[in-house]
Every structure is written in structure tokens, then in C-alpha cells.
């Protein structure tokens, strides 16, 4: 391949004035830059496509295999629970996609060296960090909510045939559907925090998936063996357990999980508290990540 270059570079006076007059660094522009970065990587687009596919596919699968024939008519509460469950069944899987996406979006800049271009353009660094987090959160929330609502709408006619009437306009159902999207968004941000701290794709993904998948299981086993209250309480504050409350209706026992233990010392969170716990995780990670980004050499 031959590359030919113009005879001489021509940053003429008029052009100088134009470029100089219009340009200035500000946060809105950094957000725009991060948005361009997000939509111009194939890996990101693929992850979002998988995201939508998983949500719809699992919802459909559950809806078509659901069979109430012969049973008694379902009460309204159960119908609501079922509507939410079908629409958010994919979350167990898409949370992994959100985690990978959150890590890659920042670790990818470190592993390729892109971060040096980013910090050269935005030398205060933190605006780039927050703009990237903002774009990630917005895109994840919109895609999550879109795919969850789409799943609910697509499966509504199928469920109606099974005696589950559309409950989509019910306040509690809407809260749970939005909660599902909110949960995925916060998982993506949690992963983003780890990615920014570890600056490494494999390490970041392993850490987040460990926290979401492995730690709850380990604590669950520990709790079963020891029956220790503090282990159960600790478990309640894990991101996945606290976050699961955001998209559950009622006590969640309908989901087939163990009945929520009740005892004077055992902490049970409601949806809002679960949300706040997850937000606290993200805030702590972001503070650590921001401090490191400011201090470390790029």
C-alpha cells in the first residue's frame, strides 16, 4: 500500500482562527467523545446485541413453557410476579454481559494504550472517567429497559392465553421492570469501577464475576453449615443479593429460592434498601478508582 502525502501541510491563518475560536474542552464534549468511542467499537455493539437477545429469548422460553391448564385461576399477585419474572428472567445472564461490558469499556483503553490519548486530550482525567461512566450507564439502562419492556410486551399475548393477564401498567410491576434495568446498570458501573482500578481485562472480569457468582454461593454454603446470623447478614449486602430485590415483587419466594428466614437478628432489605446498598458499592469503588486515576502515571 502506498500512502501519498500532500506536498506541504497547510494550517493556514484562516483555518487557525476557525479551529482556535471554536475549540475548548468541556464536560459535555467529553461525554460526546465517549459516546463516539462506545458506538464505534464492534465488541461493544456485539455485547449489547447479545444482551437484547438473552433477555428476549429467556422470557419467551419461560412464557411458552408455562402451563396452568387444570390448575386453579391465578390470583392477581401471582400474575404480577409472573409477569415480572418472565420479563426479567434474562437478568441472571445479562448481568454477566453487563459486567464484562463495564470492565472492557475501561480496561480496553489501558490494554491498548488508548488511555494515553484519552488523558492527553482530557488532562484533568476525572472528566473522562465520569463521562465514560455516564455513557456506559445511560446506554446500559436504555438497552436493558428496552429489552425488558420489549420482552414483557412480546410475551404478554402468550401469557394471556395461560390466564396471566397483562399487569404492565401496575405500579409495582413497572417498579420491578425499571428495577431490573437499574440493577444491570449498577452492575455495569460496579464492573467499570473494578476495571478502572485493576486496568486489566482478565483480572477485572474475574473479580466482578467472582463477586457476583462465586462469593454469594460460598457465603450461602457457609450460612447453611454454620447457621451463623452474621454470615446471612453479610450475604444480604452482596451486590447480587441486594440488587436482586430491585426487580423482585413481594418476598421473592415465588422465584423458587429459599424462604426468607425471619428472626430478630437477621437483616432483611426491601427494594429501596437493596438499591441503596448497590449504589453504595458503586460509590465506594468510584472513589477508589478516581483517587487512583488522579495519582497514577498513565
Amino acid at each position: 500500500m502506498t500512502t501519498t502525502t500532500l506536498e506541504a501541510p497547510q494550517p493556514s491563518g484562516a483555518q487557525n482562527a476557525r479551529v482556535q475560536g471554536a475549540t475548548r474542552l468541556n464536560f459535555a464534549r467529553v461525554v460526546r467523545s465517549e459516546w463516539i468511542k462506545l458506538r464505534t467499537l464492534r465488541s461493544t455493539l456485539w455485547l449489547f446485541a447479545i444482551f437484547v437477545l438473552l433477555t428476549v429469548a429467556f422470557g419467551l422460553l419461560m412464557a411458552v413453557t408455562f402451563d396452568t391448564s387444570g390448575g386453579p385461576a391465578l390470583d392477581t399477585e401471582t400474575q404480577k410476579s409472573f409477569t415480572v419474572m418472565v420479563a426479567t428472567l434474562g437478568v441472571s445472564f445479562t448481568q454477566l454481559v453487563a459486567a464484562v461490558l463495564g470492565v472492557l469499556i475501561v480496561s480496553g483503553e489501558y490494554t491498548t494504550g488508548m488511555i494515553r490519548s484519552t488523558f492527553a486530550a482530557v488532562p484533568k482525567r476525572l472528566p473522562a472517567f465520569f463521562a465514560k461512566a455516564f455513557v456506559l450507564a445511560l446506554a446500559t439502562f436504555v438497552v436493558s429497559l428496552g429489552s425488558i419492556v420489549a420482552t414483557a410486551l412480546i410475551t404478554a399475548p402468550i401469557l394471556a392465553g395461560q390466564g396471566v393477564e397483562g399487569q404492565l401498567l401496575d405500579g409495582e410491576v413497572m417498579r420491578a421492570l425499571v428495577g431490573g434495568a437499574g440493577y444491570l446498570t449498577l452492575v455495569a458501573l460496579l464492573a467499570f469501577g473494578f476495571g478502572a482500578i485493576l486496568r486489566n481485562s482478565a483480572g477485572g472480569i474475574a473479580t466482578v464475576l467472582g463477586l457476583i457468582l462465586v462469593v454469594p454461593t460460598v457465603l450461602g454454603i457457609l450460612a447453611a453449615i454454620t447457621q451463623a446470623v452474621w454470615v446471612q447478614n453479610l450475604s444480604a449486602f452482596l451486590p447480587s443479593n441486594a440488587g436482586a430485590l430491585m426487580y423482585a415483587i413481594g418476598d421473592g419466594s415465588f422465584m423458587g429460592g429459599p424462604p426468607v428466614p425471619t428472626g430478630s437478628d437477621i437483616i432483611t432489605l426491601d427494594a429501596t434498601q437493596g438499591f441503596l446498598v448497590l449504589v453504595a458499592w458503586v460509590v465506594v469503588l468510584f472513589i477508589a478508582a478516581a483517587a487512583l486515576i488522579k495519582r497514577r502515571d498513565a
Binding site: T3, T4, V19, A22, T23, L25, K37, T40, R116, V122
Partner: protein
């Protein structure tokens, strides 16, 4: 204008840059020369705040780089041609970089044309050759129409046409009153491009002077004289400070005297001269002379 004041940067126990002070002035091409590991890249990275100095300060046009409202218009830097996400196209990379400062498609297309990247602009950077990566890095550096241009090994991987182009580009930008600071390990390239040289060895400045002066300091000047009366001329000059070496029968290398002095002395003694040529040492020679004690990694050619 870049002002470096008492800059020190350590990586663990290793001191990469050791208390250097220098001013890189506008309107000139300043070359930054030194063996591998001398601290050139580290110094350049601290200028745009990618590395934090352990002590000392670096300012660009009177302010720290990060304090400028329009950083890409103050400094354009090519520090590492690989500082680009391999999954993105060249065009989208430039678009995203420019977007931070409100620089739009028109300017992106301009720098693509300036750097000759039109044919590959829509291709992903992962498949770029070293030379194309280098051109893209330079394109990114030029995006903000910067007052100060910092290029770390810009001709690395470029074909001869590209090398010529970088030389023209830097000369022209300097003539517009901009500050140009470039490093290179190609000393001959520096001789043709730079006005001023800062020579670095093991994190310290060895020389900071105009190119011509560096040449003179390092080796002095010698004059080649061709004459059928070589022995007579050698005799005639033997009383002076001149150091005379005979190369062939009728050729003498005379150091320590200007060609005018030699010519006049020959005329007075009626000695015929066939050639009288001032020899300027190559920058390579000067450079090796300056840095021979400061090279971190010696290569042993023969043992």
C-alpha cells in the same frame, strides 16, 4: 514555549530523569537526542501530564498542561504510536479525540488528508503498519492545531517520503512561530531538521545548544589539505597548535587551524595547494562523543 524546571522522575529505584532544566523555545525545531533509556520519552510524557514528576515542574506557555482550557490547541503530542484502540477505525479515533474539544468532521478530514491516510481512514487501526500508525499519531497530534508540537521518534517506521514530509512539516510549523520538540535516534535526521539540540544521557542533560555549536564543541574542526608538497607544509605548520595527520602521500588532515590560516601559511611559503576542505564532523560522531560515557546499554560489537 516549554519550560522544564528541575524535573526528576523515578520509577521505583531507577531514576529516569535526574533534575533537568531546559527551555524549548517557539519558532525553532528543538531536537531531543539521547541513547535508549536516557529519559527522553519520560520527559515528554511529563510535559503533557501523563507521568507525574517526583520533583520539579513543567509548564507549557506558562501553565501546567492540565490547567489550560484548550489543551489540544496548546500541545499536540505523538508520544506512542500505539496509544490507540486497535478496534476502532482511524477516522473514528480522530473523531472521538476531536469531540472532546468540539473539533468536528471537517478538521478530522483535513488532518487525514495532511497525513495521507485517506485510503485507510475507514479501516480499523489493528491492521495498520508501523508507518501508518505513526501517521495516525501525527494526525491526532495536529487535530487541535497546536501551538506546541511534541513528537517522540516521529520518523520511526516511516518510509523516505514520510521522513521528508515530517521534516517539511516541522520546519513549516516552526516557521509559523510554533514550538516544535522532537526526539529521534537518527542523528542525521536531526542535523537536517533541528535548529537546536538537547542531548540527554542517563537522565541528565549533556548538551543544550544550537546544532552547529554541538558539532563544534564535540569534535573541533579539521581541514583536509591536498598538496604535492605535503612534507613542506607539515614542516611549515609544525610550530603552531595544529595536529597534523597524514592520510595518503599528498593528503593531510589538519586540526586546530582554520582553513584560512592554512591557506595563508601555504601562500607565504609558496606551497601549492590542490585542495583545502573544512571538514564538519557528522552529528553521529558528535553525538557518540557526547554520550559515550552515558550510554546505559553498551553493545559490544566484537570481543
Amino acid at each position: 514555549m516549554i519550560e522544564i524546571q528541575g524535573l526528576t522522575k523515578r520509577y521505583g529505584a531507577k531514576t529516569a530523569v535526574d533534575n533537568i532544566t531546559a527551555t524549548i523555545r517557539p519558532g525553532l525545531v528543538t531536537g531531543f537526542l539521547g541513547p535508549n533509556g536516557a529519559g527522553k520519552s519520560t520527559t515528554m510524557r511529563t510535559i503533557i501530564g501523563l507521568d507525574r514528576p517526583d520533583s520539579g515542574s513543567v509548564t507549557v506557555n506558562g501553565k501546567q498542561y492540565a490547567q489550560h482550557h484548550n489543551p489540544m490547541h496548546e500541545v499536540g503530542a505523538l508520544l506512542d504510536a500505539k496509544a490507540i484502540h486497535t478496534g476502532r477505525t482511524a477516522y473514528n479515533h480522530l473523531l472521538a479525540m476531536g469531540a472532546t474539544h468540539g473539533i468536528g468532521k471537517a478538521r478530522v478530514n483535513e488532518v487525514i488528508a495532511m497525513t495521507g491516510l485517506e485510503s485507510v481512514a475507514k479501516k480499523r487501526v489493528g491492521g495498520f503498519s508501523l508507518g501508518m500508525g505513526q501517521r495516525l499519531g501525527i494526525a491526532a497530534a495536529l487535530l487541535g492545531d497546536p501551538q506546541t508540537l511534541i513528537l517522540d521518534e516521529p520518523v520511526n517506521g516511516l518510509d523516505p517520503e514520510g521522513v521528508m514530509w515530517v521534516r517539511k512539516l516541522t520546519r513549516q510549523l516552526a516557521s509559523e512561530g510554533r514550538t516544535i520538540f522532537l526526539s529521534s535516534h537518527l542523528m542525521s535526521e536531526m542535523a537536517q531538521t533541528a535548529d537546536h539540540l538537547i542531548v540527554l544521557g542517563r537522565g541528565r542533560i549533556i548538551a543544550d545548544a544550537p546544532v552547529s555549536e554541538i558539532l563544534a564543541i564535540a569534535t573541533g574542526t579539521a581541514v583536509r589539505v591536498r598538496t604535492p608538497q605535503a612534507a613542506e607544509l607539515a614542516n611549515r605548520l609544525s610550530g603552531s597548535d595544529a595536529t597534523i595527520t597524514s592520510i595518503e602521500g599528498d593528503v593531510l588532515n589538519i586540526a586546530g587551524l582554520a582553513s584560512a590560516q592554512i591557506g595563508e601559511a601555504a601562500a607565504q611559503s609558496g606551497i601549492v595547494l590542490h585542495e583545502l576542505t573544512p571538514l564538519s564532523a557528522s552529528l553521529e560522531d558528535a553525538y557518540l562523543e557526547l554520550t559515550q560515557d552515558d550510554v546505559e546499554y553498551h553493545s559490544e560489537v566484537s570481543r
